[in-house]
């Protein structure tokens, strides 16, 4: 229930203006806020009230109530690339996993898509498995903002009552998901590496803890929806089915500029923007074993021959030899290329958690006991400065004979 503290309410009407559902009004007679029947308990007004006059008493959901929550939702994050708006890859990966979960539950899979010029994204979402897309369009959603997006997505959740909501653990996903969890008093499990449904229809969320040294299975038995975030590249991207159709539902959003308290003053695209290690098919990753910054040249040479992207262990990023977006691992990025070369990388657990799902891992290291060999599909005990130049020579010879 949304409660109004009559003594604290000043009748300022801020709640009336921010409510996405027009479910709270200031009574013209009493000059106090009044909650209407269509209130979804989304919490937007509680947040906006400056006088602490509004509050929601949230209780754990009872078993019968749990049954009211149905369907798996995915937040449809998009990005702008050269002025084109495209869906982020992680959304497709989540749709693949979401499809599995929805099928196990016998429920449907939906995407909550918020933004401004985003109609063109829906078809592809259906192809990747969505049964339904909730389209929330508004001028004020042209750019991501915590307040704008949290308000709209909480509103959809509060109104549609899904059983599961999944977010990509991107910078904005990590900004948004806990804000919504805080608003709706829900559990949220970050950076899940496994998601499954158990016999009692609970979502079992598995994630590494303590730097990947242990795994923990987490669930939220008494609250709905159950929410998780998943890093890009953790789940495989499914094959699209271009024949698949779905239902498009426009979800009316009401937002006013007072909802959005942060302003973007400037956007700076960094020069390393072209280097997206999370999207590469082949990664040549270097570690402290390269010894000197100049030796990166050899790594780049090899990458060029293989049409690969260069990445590194944290050791190199800490030394400032490569920028942070190129770091693989727990405090960097999770990558899953077809081919991963670990050159002069020891294989610390924090590095491994970021790359073990690569299809094939090749390691070259001087130390036969380096832990990287325990997970490498093909390992060479030897000196990178002796082996890589030979390897580059062979690659070049092949290219010539190809001509």
């Amino acid at each position: 229930m949304l409660e109004v503290d009559i003594d604290a309410c000043t009748g300022c009407k801020v709640c009336e203006r921010v409510c996405p559902f027009a479910a709270i009004i200031v009574d013209p007679e009493t000059k106090k806020a009044k909650v209407l029947d269509n209130c979804t308990l989304c919490g937007t007004c509680v947040n906006a009230c400056k006088f602490d006059a509004l509050s929601i008493e949230r209780k754990a959901v009872s078993e019968e109530e749990l049954l009211l929550y149905k369907d798996v939702f995915v937040w449809g994050e998009w990005e702008r690339k050269e002025d084109k708006i495209t869906t982020k890859n992680v959304v497709f990966e989540l749709l693949g996993k979401g499809r599995e979960l929805a099928d196990k539950l016998g429920e449907s899979l939906a995407v909550v898509l918020a933004g401004k010029d985003i109609d063109h994204l829906t078809e592809e979402l259906f192809h990747y498995g969505a049964d339904k897309v909730y389209l929330c369009k508004h001028e004020l959603l042209e750019q991501y903002s915590t307040d704008g997006y949290a308000t709209v997505i909480s509103s959809v959740i509060a109104a549609e009552k899904p059983s599961v909501v999944l977010y990509g653990a991107t910078p904005n996903g990590r900004d948004l998901a806990p804000r919504i969890a805080g608003r709706l008093a829900l559990g949220l499990t970050a950076d899940c590496t496994g998601l499954d449904i158990d016999e009692s229809r609970q979502l079992i969320q598995t994630r590494p803890a303590f730097g990947g040294n242990i795994m923990a299975s987490i669930y939220s038995p008494y609250t709905r929806p159950q929410m998780s975030s998943v890093r890009p590249n953790v789940f495989p991207k499914p094959k699209p089915d271009t024949a698949k159709q779905g239902v498009l539902e426009e979800f009316d959003v009401k937002l006013s500029p007072i909802n959005i308290r942060t302003k973007i003053i400037e956007e700076i695209i960094s020069k390393d923007e072209g280097v997206k290690i999370e999207e590469a098919n082949i990664l040549v990753s270097a570690g402290r074993g390269i010894g000197l910054k100049e030796n990166l040249g050899l790594i780049y040479e090899m990458a060029e021959e293989l049409d690969a992207t260069v990445a590194g262990s944290r050791a190199l990023i800490d030394l400032g030899w490569l920028p942070h977006p190129q770091q693989v691992g727990q405090s960097g990025k999770t990558v899953a290329p077809n081919l991963y070369f670990a050159l002069g990388i020891s294989g610390a657990i924090q590095h491994l958690v970021g790359m073990t799902s690569s299809d094939t891992i090749i390691a070259i290291n001087k130390d036969p006991d380096a832990p990287i060999f325990k997970i490498a599909d093909f390992g060479i005990v030897g000196d990178i400065f002796e082996i890589i130049p030979e390897f580059i020579k062979l690659l070049r010879m092949r290219k010539q004979s190809d001509l």
Partner: protein
């Protein structure tokens, strides 16, 4: 003007291991440290205190944790915080993100209601969840900016440089607000002897759940929507062939063959 810094004590993550037999954590001999990102946040607060001359800034460190968390707060005092509070109570045990942020929200709003800015770490290195700050901001009803690397105060507003997937953003918001800090230009410092001595005179108060009028239903395990059902050692992958590379020509040839056999390179 008042800046509250939320800090967490964490075990040195890379030293924790699992007993493969029992599946339990081996914590013996694992030291506890102030979470590095919290240290960057504190550093930013102290930097603002020193550089923003229009108003006096008071820096208050707050942490929720077991009694031994005092050492992390002492470090904050040594590094320049003016006072510290430890929210510590058996009733807080088993708190998940929601319950932790409830306790922090009550702590901040009861102990320092006139705060202007809250700085936190972007994430704690034990769980890497990066969720407590946003949930705390939401519960306090204030705006948040995550992944900040530099904060500028301009009277009643702040400007924050934020890391994004593509580069950076400059965002502005009004105070009070919460900012989570990434590394930026801040470094982990070693306090001077004088700072250490001075810190001993600064207040460090321990606050209980009762002091914050929080009962068991609002904090700790009972108030936590998420529960851990099982903890286990990560599955071990079995590595493939490891060859001797003492003859680099042969090794390079074998690597090439492996890539061709597995269709990563075309046969020529």
């Amino acid at each position: 003007m008042k800046i509250v810094v939320l800090v967490k004590q964490v075990p040195e993550a890379d030293k924790v291991a699992v007993d493969p037999e029992t599946g339990t954590l081996i914590r013996e001999g694992v030291a506890s440290i102030l979470n590095p990102y919290c240290e960057y946040a504190l550093d930013e607060a102290v930097r603002l205190k020193e550089s923003y001359t229009e108003k006096d800034i008071e820096v208050v460190a707050i942490s929720m944790g077991p009694p031994q968390t005092k050492s992390a707060l002492l470090r904050c005092l040594e590094l320049g915080a003016d006072k510290a509070y430890l929210l510590s109570d058996r009733k807080f045990a088993g708190s998940d993100v929601w319950a932790t942020s409830t306790a922090l929200k009550e702590g901040v709003s009861k102990l320092e209601p006139d705060f202007d800015l809250i700085l936190t770490g972007k994430q704690a290195i034990d769980g890497d969840t990066a969720q407590v700050p946003a949930e705390t901001a939401e519960q306090l009803g204030i705006p948040q900016i995550t992944y900040g690397i530099e904060v500028k105060i301009d009277n009643k507003r702040i400007e924050v440089k934020r890391e994004t997937d593509e580069g950076y953003q400059i965002l502005s918001t009004r105070l009070p607000a919460l900012v989570t800090m990434s590394k930026g230009s801040n470094i982990r410092r070693i306090p001077s002897m004088k700072q250490v001595l001075d810190s001993r005179r600064k207040p460090l108060d321990v606050v209980s759940a009762d002091d914050l009028e929080l009962d068991e239903n609002k904090v700790g395990l009972k108030a936590s929507p998420t529960q851990v059902s099982r903890v286990f050692a990560p599955p071990t992958k079995v590595g493939g062939d490891v060859i001797d590379g003492s003859d680099p020509k042969i090794a390079a040839q074998k690597l090439l063959e492996y890539l061709v056999n597995n269709k990563y390179l075309k046969d020529v």
